[in-house]
């Protein structure tokens, strides 16, 4: 390749290099962002050491169905982001209910005018929850699952 031809090719190639490097950079940023979103979702679902779970079985928003929320010893549940458990479903109240552990019992307490059904029966204020109970917050149905201790779990298996 003569010097002139090389010069022409090299002058063209510099745009090609910029294009490739820019593409690589943007792809890294894009993929990184995607992975971050996945990571965040994974963290929401499984990171903290929970004592019980709420699994959404029915909701107005079909994307919510199947999601598992981990519960700590004391939780506020509602649509608002301020709640410990935020279920962004239309039928939920902003602050819908409180769910907490008192001794060995789990207690569901709903707030004011919000409606809560436990296993199909309307709750009047405070309800004792058992493992595998179905809880309905207005139109959002969730299953309440108490986490088994590790040794119990292996015994059963």
């Amino acid at each position: 390749m003569s010097a002139q031809v090389f010069e022409a090719v090299s002058l063209m190639a510099r745009y090609w290099f910029v294009l490739l490097i820019a593409y690589i950079l943007l792809r890294i940023v894009q993929n990184s962002l995607d992975e971050y979103k996945i990571d965040r979702r994974m963290r929401l679902e499984g990171e903290r050491s929970y004592v019980a779970y709420l699994k959404v079985v029915d909701a107005d928003d079909p994307e919510l169905i199947g999601l598992v929320y981990g519960l700590n010893e004391f939780n506020t549940i509602g649509k608002s982001i301020e709640c410990d458990i935020t279920i962004p479903d239309k039928s939920m109240r902003k602050k819908h209910a409180k769910l907490y552990k008192k001794g060995p019992d789990w207690i569901l307490e709903h707030r004011g005018s919000s409606i809560v059904f436990v296993n199909g029966e309307e709750s009047n204020g405070v309800t004792l929850l058992n493992d595998n109970d179905n809880v309905a917050f207005s139109g959002t149905m969730a299953k309440f699952i108490i986490r088994r201790q590790r040794n119990e779990h292996t015994k059963k298996a």
């Binding site: 090389f6 910029v18 490097i21 593409y23 950079l25 890294i28 995607d34 963290r43 929970y50 779970y53």
Partner: protein, 418 residues
């Protein structure tokens, strides 16, 4: 469960391979018969990239792919520039790259398995002190800094490796900063000792890097604004003292203020670098058409200037963005890590890599006084490449631990719920 699958980055690798091969083919045509060695070097680069990526993602599915790819892109640009200017250096750099990758895998496996760091606090302190002091006493002076060890045919720069120990020691000491006053005192003395030795060795870049890393790690660990500001004040005071005490510090600042006044003397390098970058413009003068040999130390500290000359400032900015990717990914790894020790180690490693790149980039573009440190992953140099790869290995190990722990948690949740 499909949300566990991480997005594959293999298609991104094809673009990187395309970039490497097209650059090496172009360099091959630079001389008059076609230079086949360029293709060989390009082929080896591609081979290393693919082997590394495929093996690592196969054995460690929770690896952070993007810092690995970013490091590879930076190394590729480095090797391309070195081959274009001086093929002999590029061959050596390829060997260092391969050694570094192997070392990275070893470190990665070691850090994921090794759990008893706490017992090694004092041995690590003593080891780093011995390395630094012996390099001060027995060291050889290369490029104005007395910080090299000669072992056979190799020259090693102990400060490059001590910085890794430095981060480990700081992480161990800062794990619980509020309760233990004794550890705080040890930390201050240890850091001051390391930095003082580096200043005495005339290795100002490394001293700045250590001081900056110390400051960042202390602030991240304690969140104590007042004490951190106090350390900034101490650092500034130390800089003033060093400026008045040592001629070499004063010379650096004078050159930085007006390099053109000493164009024929010490300012030559900075001015040549600035001219190289300016002549490159947005898109560069074209690969193979510049005059990179006009810039002193083009292969190491000043590689950014010659990259800007031939590839253009746009790619220069992209390189800075690649280091930003490092900051973001590294911080994410730190935030997700198991305990404070690993979080601090991850953050310290990230700080070392990115602060080092900032110190040299700032020096080359005359934003801060030029102090000789290498560009991580890009510059020629065995010590630098190995140290950068070790840092990346530590980061990857912590990322893998995070991923494994998260998978275990998720599996537990699944087993309870379904």
């Amino acid at each position: 469960m499909n949300i566990l699958k991480r997005p594959s980055a293999i298609s991104l690798l094809y673009v990187i391979i395309l970039f490497e091969l097209s650059a090496f083919v172009l360099i091959g045509f630079m001389v008059q018969p076609f230079d086949y060695m360029a293709l060989v070097v390009g082929g080896v680069m591609v081979f290393l990239l693919l082997v590394q990526y495929i093996m690592l993602t196969r054995f460690f599915p929770n690896l952070d792919r993007y810092i690995l790819i970013t490091a590879n892109v930076l190394a590729a640009i480095g090797v391309i520039m070195q081959y274009r200017v001086n093929p002999d250096l590029a061959y050596k750099q390829l060997i260092w790259l391969a050694v570094g990758m192997a070392l990275m895998v070893c470190v990665l496996i070691f850090v994921t398995k090794f759990k008893v760091w706490k017992k090694f606090l004092y041995p690590l302190i003593i080891l780093s002190a011995v390395l630094l002091v012996s390099s001060l006493i027995f060291g050889k002076t290369i490029n104005g800094a007395k910080n090299w060890f000669r072992i056979g045919i190799f020259s090693l720069q102990p400060s490059e490796f001590v910085k890794i120990i430095f981060v480990l020691v700081l992480a161990l000491l800062l794990e619980d900063p509020k309760t233990q006053f004794k550890k705080f005192i040890i930390m201050c003395f240890y850091s001051a000792f390391c930095i003082a030795i580096l200043v005495l060795q005339k290795d100002l870049g490394a001293a700045l890097l250590y001081a900056g890393t110390f400051l960042v790690m202390y602030f991240v660990a304690s969140g104590n604004v007042l004490v951190s500001l106090g350390f900034v004040g101490v650092g500034a005071g130390g800089a003033v003292v060093a400026y008045n005490l040592f001629d070499h510090v004063r010379a650096r600042v004078e050159i930085w203020q007006d390099p053109w006044a000493q164009y024929n003397g010490k300012g030559y390098q900075i001015v040549q670098g600035l001219i190289a970058m300016a002549s490159g413009g947005l898109f560069g003068v074209g690969l193979g058409l510049g005059t990179p040999k006009a810039v002193p130390v083009y292969y190491s500290d000043y590689i950014f200037a010659i990259v800007c000359e031939e590839f253009g400032i746009l790619i220069g900015i992209a390189i800075m963005c690649f280091y930003l990717v490092f900051i973001i990914r590294g911080s994410l790894i730190a935030v997700n890590s198991e305990n404070k020790f690993y979080a601090l180690v991850a953050f310290g490693c990230t700080t070392l890599i990115t602060l080092q790149s900032f110190i040299i980039l700032g020096g080359v573009i005359k934003l801060i006084p030029l102090t000789g440190v290498t560009m991580p992953f890009m510059s020629y140099g065995g010590s630098s490449m190995m140290a950068s790869m070790i840092l990346m290995g530590v980061l990857e190990a912590i990322a893998i631990q995070n991923g494994n722990r998260r998978l275990a948690k998720l599996a537990e949740v699944e087993s309870h719920v379904n």
